[in-house]
């Protein structure tokens, strides 16, 4: 089982779209896949048409595998399950803090799912918090989508610093450029000269209306527009990601 965290401090940069599409592609290829929508906004749950509600709230989930088992919902896609979001996740930091070894709690409760799933994707909320720390420690791979702009690159540096401070292996962090607008000169320049202090995947996700339409279709792009630019880009990203790990 591989745990993949899709994380960035910034919001609105395509974390959820990345999680949903990569998880869908993994399941499509026959890998048993689970998405945990950790963001109280519940966008991933919305895309999968699943009510953002879990029994006993976030705190209840942290008690162990049984609690997780009870809330896992099958999506419309074979081998793809979801732990839905819940509004109580906004207080997940506090709930985690109540446990001993609070930074590794998530890793501990996910471990028993090892036999059931090949991939677990964590759709992380945009913040630096105990939840982020937990997801980054639990993950075997951390994908940080980055918009090719100066501020986003600055944020990426902050993430790398944060990971370094927590002692997270640098080689499990990778990034790719998201919401790329090929008409913009700055985007082009940054893509041509990517940061050297982190592994950057070559595949880029374009700024495309098909990705926004995910909210209308409530499906991964790769379902309703498999052969679109965005659909192909996610496929390429997934293929490259698998080769990298």
């Amino acid at each position: 089982m591989k745990i993949v965290a899709c994380y960035n401090v910034k919001g609105g940069i395509g974390k959820t779209a990345t999680t949903v599409n990569l998880a869908y592609l993994a399941a499509y290829e026959g890998a048993r896949t689970l998405v945990w929508d950790l963001d109280p906004q519940g966008a991933a749950s919305f895309y999968f048409r699943i009510k953002p509600k879990v029994k006993k709230g976030g705190k209840g989930l942290l008690s162990g595998k049984k609690a997780l088992d009870d809330v896992i919902k099958g999506t419309d896609y074979k081998y793809l399950d979801l732990i839905p979001s819940d509004f109580s996740y906004r207080n997940l930091d506090l709930a985690l803090d109540d446990f001993k070894k609070s930074a590794t709690r998530l890793r501990k409760i996910l471990k028993p799912l090892n036999k059931e799933y090949d991939y677990i994707f964590l759709d992380c909320p945009p913040s630096i918090s105990l939840v982020s720390e937990n997801t980054l420690i639990a993950a075997d791979a951390i994908i940080a989508p980055t918009i090719p702009t100066t501020l986003s690159l600055r944020t990426l540096d902050q993430i790398l610093d944060f990971c370094k401070k927590m002692g997270i292996a640098h080689d499990k962090i990778l990034t790719f450029f998201s919401m790329v607008d090929s008409r913009k000169k700055l985007h082009k320049q940054i893509i041509e000269n990517p940061p050297q202090n982190v592994r950057v995947l070559k595949s880029c996700i374009p700024y495309a209306s098909d990705i926004e339409l995910m909210g209308v279709h409530r499906q991964p792009v790769c379902v309703f527009a498999k052969n679109s630019r965005a659909g192909k880009a996610y496929q390429a990203l997934w293929d490259e990601f698998k080769r990298s790990y």
Partner: protein, 573 residues
């Protein structure tokens, strides 16, 4: 497509889903049988009163159920297959639903529960486990199939209509699939009962139970008692029997040597014939291997059970089966080198591995030539004559009555004096002789002995083991299995050593041949040289182990136990 709504309400032959069945549905699908033609629209209408339903697709598939020649998947309670759209313009897909079948789908299911173990898009029918790139699935198949190939065991057309049970958010809560099956590939197309399959969605157990209850109580459909594969196999009179080519007939003590031998030889002929088609079509290397083993065993019986065949007849069959063994050897040798090729690559340091690639091309090229030669030999008059003469041998119970065989007409009774003796007596005597020979040859081997002496011992051990295995019915199981276990360990050592001897010699010959044929540059020849060095070192190590293995064989076997097992104290006259 699924006509006659009335049939859904026909409850004459109805069974109900047992409570156990309903409870065991945790994450597994439940299949119902439509005993008569029924209309999917009727299901649609009935369920529509309770749920929001949505038809996603209507598709015609060709399904290939896959298994090895010896039913390895089936024996492990696993159903494996490949679905591919039969005719793409029949495909009707609504609302961009998730459908993988456009490119073909490979699937593995648990035979008992029907639960899906693996399912992923696959654009061609896999032949071997190595064709599968899905890592865990590949591991599972490697363990079960080994080097055996997949073969289609049933081919059917599946007409599938899928309905989703949705909630207000249009989220799928359960899936209904109505399927109609026609078995193709036979002179007459065979239809099986239609099925309605209900798939649960995790986390929506309540809906699943409601749908099941609705189907059983209102539609009164009986649950499928058998898997679809089993039903299909029964329809085409196919029995998945992995032991089809194992000798199941017991050899009673009362049999004469001729009668017992006849049973064994007939069985070996069946094995040869069963494997002939597979080796001709090169489905996998095991067909030729099993064919050769049957030939070798036949030769062993001809050589070891003496004085049951008239001399001239024996000479003829010995010569012809020797020929049969010989003509199959080059292809088998090349099979072995190709099977070992990945191992050869790993023997070499990484920078030399690619230099070996021309060797694989050389092997493949020669394999094609040798295989064609083999097929030619199997088409020859000589082969057909041998098989037909051999079959005639078993046409009647009494060998002496085979008067239509010219060679038999000149038989004198002195030549076949063992034929009418009790088999146990003749065989035990022979086993004792072979055992003594194994001991004698084994003791004579010293670290300085020529490699050939080990090869001779290997051949004797093989003959010895064949006889024990053929006639194991005559001896106590426990002793036999203990003896065979130790003998096997000794044989493994001797077999490995012989293999390495042959490989070292043959690789040197191949390198020279490749150079002459202009297929190898200096780098390839060097890589092969390094390989030969590695194999030579391993050969020395295997040879060094021989003494210990032989000692273990002698010690554990113990003469007394052996004498007891094979009644060394003669009771015969």
């Amino acid at each position: 497509m699924f006509p006659d709504q009335a049939c859904w309400l026909d409850n004459e032959k109805m069974e109900t889903v047992s409570a156990k069945n309903m409870e065991s549905t945790n994450n597994d699908s439940v299949e119902f049988v439509l005993k008569q033609k029924a209309d999917m629209d009727a299901v649609y209408e009935l369920l529509c009163r309770e749920y929001s339903l949505h038809e996603t697709f209507h598709v015609q598939l060709k399904r290939y159920y896959l298994d090895s020649f010896d039913w390895r998947m089936y024996q492990q309670d696993i159903v494996c297959g490949w679905d591919v759209p039969n005719n793409k313009h029949h495909l009707k897909v609504n609302n961009n639903q998730d459908i993988k079948s456009q490119e073909g789908v490979f699937f593995i299911q648990n035979k008992d529960t029907g639960s899906s173990l693996y399912e992923f898009p696959f654009d061609h029918m896999p032949r071997f486990s190595k064709d599968i790139s899905h890592q865990t699935c590949r591991q599972m198949l490697d363990d079960i199939l080994g080097i055996r190939a997949f073969m289609p065991v049933v081919i059917m057309t599946v007409q599938r209509k899928q309905l989703l049970v949705l909630n207000k958010e249009h989220k799928t809560l359960a899936i209904l699939q109505a399927e109609r099956y026609t078995i193709s590939g036979h002179t007459v197309e065979k239809c099986l009962h239609d099925r309605l399959i209900v798939f649960p969605i995790r986390g929506y157990k309540k809906v699943f139970k409601q749908v099941l209850q609705y189907i059983t109580e209102h539609l009164k459909l009986p649950p499928a008692g058998n898997t679809l594969l089993d039903e299909a196999l029964a329809a085409i009179d196919q029995t998945p029997d992995s032991n089809a080519f194992a000798l199941t007939q017991r050899l009673p003590d009362s049999l004469t040597t001729w009668e017992a031998t006849q049973i064994l030889l007939r069985h070996l002929l069946n094995v040869m014939q069963a494997n002939e088609s597979g080796l001709r079509h090169a489905i996998d290397t095991e067909f030729l291997h099993d064919y050769r083993v049957a030939v070798r065993r036949t030769r062993s019986i001809l050589g070891q059970i003496k004085h049951i065949f008239p001399g001239k007849l024996l000479d003829y069959f010995k010569r012809e089966f020797y020929w049969l063994g010989t003509i199959t050897t080059p292809t088998r040798d090349l099979d072995m080198y190709l099977l070992k090729f990945d191992g050869y690559m790993h023997e070499l340091p990484p920078h030399l591995q690619n230099d070996l690639v021309p060797f694989r091309l050389f092997l493949e090229r020669h394999w094609k030539v040798e295989h064609a030669r083999l097929c030619q030999a199997l088409d020859s008059r000589r082969y057909h004559k041998l098989i037909s003469q051999w079959q005639q041998m078993f046409a009647s119970k009494d060998m002496q009555s085979q008067s239509d065989t010219v060679l038999l007409q000149q038989t004198s009774p002195q030549e076949t004096f063992n034929a009418t003796k009790p088999a146990k007596q003749v065989v035990s005597e022979r086993i004792r002789k072979l055992y003594k020979r194994v001991l004698k040859e084994g003791w004579m081997i010293t670290p300085e002995s020529h490699d050939e002496t080990l090869h001779e011992l290997r051949k004797t051990c093989k003959k010895f083991r064949y006889l024990i295995e053929f006639f194991h019915d005559y001896y106590p199981d426990k002793q036999i299995s203990r003896l065979v276990k130790k003998l096997k360990l000794l044989q493994d050592n001797l077999g490995d050593f012989q293999d390495l001897c042959v490989q070292v010699d043959q690789l040197n010959c191949f390198a020279e041949q490749m150079r002459q044929e202009g297929l190898a540059d200096t780098r390839t020849i060097m890589a092969m040289g390094v390989l030969v060095q590695k194999l030579t070192a391993r050969k020395a190590a295997v040879r060094a182990e021989f003494g210990q293995r032989f000692k273990e064989f002698i010690q554990t076997d113990k003469k007394a136990a052996f004498s007891h097992t094979f009644s060394l104290k003669r009771t015969d006259t």
